[in-house]
Assembly symmetry: C2
Homo-oligomer: 326 residues x 2
């Protein structure tokens, strides 16, 4: 939950005066997002989300994030659309922070995704990849394979307090992934954090994607690998092959995966599991327990890493070429 910055009515009204939205009626800080402060704002013209960018977000990245949402919404993807002021840029300033106003998306995220929902997520992800093509700006993925070793070094021997032998196990995985990370696969803009809390459903259908603040340029199939980690495991840690098949088939039906991409999926998923294991472990070790941030258990991703390390082909995820047409 997150409202890091207090916003006064007069300041907000001044900020909104740049828009043609009628009078401000109410605003409430909402307990959503970890990096930024978010408010639900109601004016005479409707309901909006106001985001204040806090210091964990690099200001130099904001034109990329705002521009990407404009690019995607223009192409019909259901995501928060930055509202255009009558004059000036969508990115403004409020309470000393960069700030922008977005359209409000109805819908709820799902705590227990069904296989059908996994299929919808696969299709939406492929749609996002198709529509992000042609976007003029780019942003490197600081959390791709090249960014894992600094995190690993930053964890150090403390890792073994979380799980016996963890440091050595991660070290060996890391060396393997650095040596075998695929080259030459199609790249583009990926979401890079499409967990269930960033996908809304309404009346049984996917209604929108949110929180693009990890979006970056990377291997497209790596985004699908992240979703395999985020959507297809049960609470008891078991991989659900029905959900895996639905996710991959959904993606493949919109943006067909090449043989190379399919062959690389297990190692990409292994990398995705390591990436979330490392960031969770780093936070577990370095964020004080007294912080407002709820720390997530890294061991969940150790189990997922071990699972993916044992996968030989996409058939182990339930996917078979041509199977989706059967």
């Amino acid at each position: 939950m997150a409202v890091y910055t207090e916003v006064g009515e007069a300041d907000l009204a001044a900020f909104l005066s740049r828009y043609d939205l009628g009078q401000l009626l109410s605003y409430k800080g909402i307990a959503e997002g970890v990096e930024n402060s978010n408010f639900l704002v109601r004016t005479e013209r409707g309901t909006f989300i106001l985001t204040l960018y806090e210091k964990r977000v690099n200001r130099a990245d904001l034109p990329f994030f705002i521009g990407l949402l404009e690019h995607l919404a223009d192409r019909g993807l259901s995501c928060p659309l930055p509202v255009q002021p009558v004059s000036g840029e969508a990115l403004g300033e409020l309470a000393g922070r960069p700030a922008a106003l977005f359209t409000f998306l109805e819908g709820m995220w799902t705590r227990r995704p069904s296989a059908e929902q996994c299929g919808e997520v696969g299709r939406a992800l492929a749609d996002l990849h198709a529509k992000s093509g042609g976007f003029a700006l780019t942003r490197a993925n600081a959390l791709s394979v090249g960014g894992w070793r600094p995190l690993y070094d930053g964890c150090g021997p403390e890792a073994d307090k979380v799980s016996d032998g963890l440091l050595a196990e991660i070290g060996s995985e890391l060396a393997f992934l650095e040596a075998h990370w695929p080259n030459g696969l199609p790249t583009g803009i990926i979401h890079a954090d499409l967990f269930p809390d960033n996908v809304f459903f309404l009346r049984g259908r996917l209604s929108g994607l949110i929180d693009f603040y990890f979006a970056c340029e990377d291997i497209l199939a790596y985004d699908l690998a992240i979703c395999l980690c985020a959507w297809c495991f049960e609470l008891d840690g078991a991989f659900n092959i029905t959900k895996g098949r639905a996710l991959i088939e959904g993606y493949h039906s919109v943006r067909p995966l090449s043989d190379d991409e399919l062959a690389a999926l297990p190692i990409l998923a292994r990398g995705a599991a390591l990436r979330f294991l490392l960031t969770r472990l780093y936070d577990w070790i370095h964020i004080p327990d007294t912080s407002l941030v709820t720390k997530k258990d890294p061991r969940e991703y150790l189990r997922k890493l071990r699972f993916h390390a044992g996968v030989r082909t996409v058939a182990d995820y339930g996917f078979q070429l041509g199977g989706e047409a059967a």
Copy 2:
């Protein structure tokens, strides 16, 4: 800020099925309220506030709070109205907590009240007192004069770490107030916590009162005394006599204050300042710094206490009988 309880979509949809509100469209936890978890809920029929009552609220008090809001809204006071289910009671259960749904009030609370706004608050408070008459239930004020000594005893010598000599000063104030607390003044249901964040304004007018979870039976003029503390001091600690006059005149114009009430106002305000000094001091000493709760500086109320202790008559608050007609 406060969302203590996670609510899943299926549970919320089941809870809402008791109402005739159409389909659930979205819900967001909001950073408002300290005692309870609050969500902004949108359905096909509109926008609502969902409150889950957490353990700091006594369940036995809930029928009083819910019933009072129904009683007041029925009489035209602008406050959250508990939405009636098609069958059953407004007070239900969700995620293992007592829960109720309320109408959403547009408006914003003011960080810097003007004298005009103080006048509106005075009128709204008197209106609340008039309209709460005839409500069948009652609730004792655990934080009235009889409840202060246990708080004082619970602070103990730690108080002097907050301000030199504080324990002795409070002890002497407490003894004075216990000995001279007025008897025989009109009583009724009071709000007991009508601070600026509980009063909404919209288009320059007062649009509603919220957060009745300290409401109780007590001396009516004591509620006005609380507002004198909460609304009429500047950030630098100085009492603003223009705001004091506006507040009292506003109240008096709707529910005329008797000579006894006016004469008692200084001691009631002294008591109100001590009450907030004691609860803030108690929290300051007993709530760990690592808690999610933002602790408020008790010394603000020490300054207010000293001010009221030096007041002789309501003229010192800017009020003169007949003056409001001049």
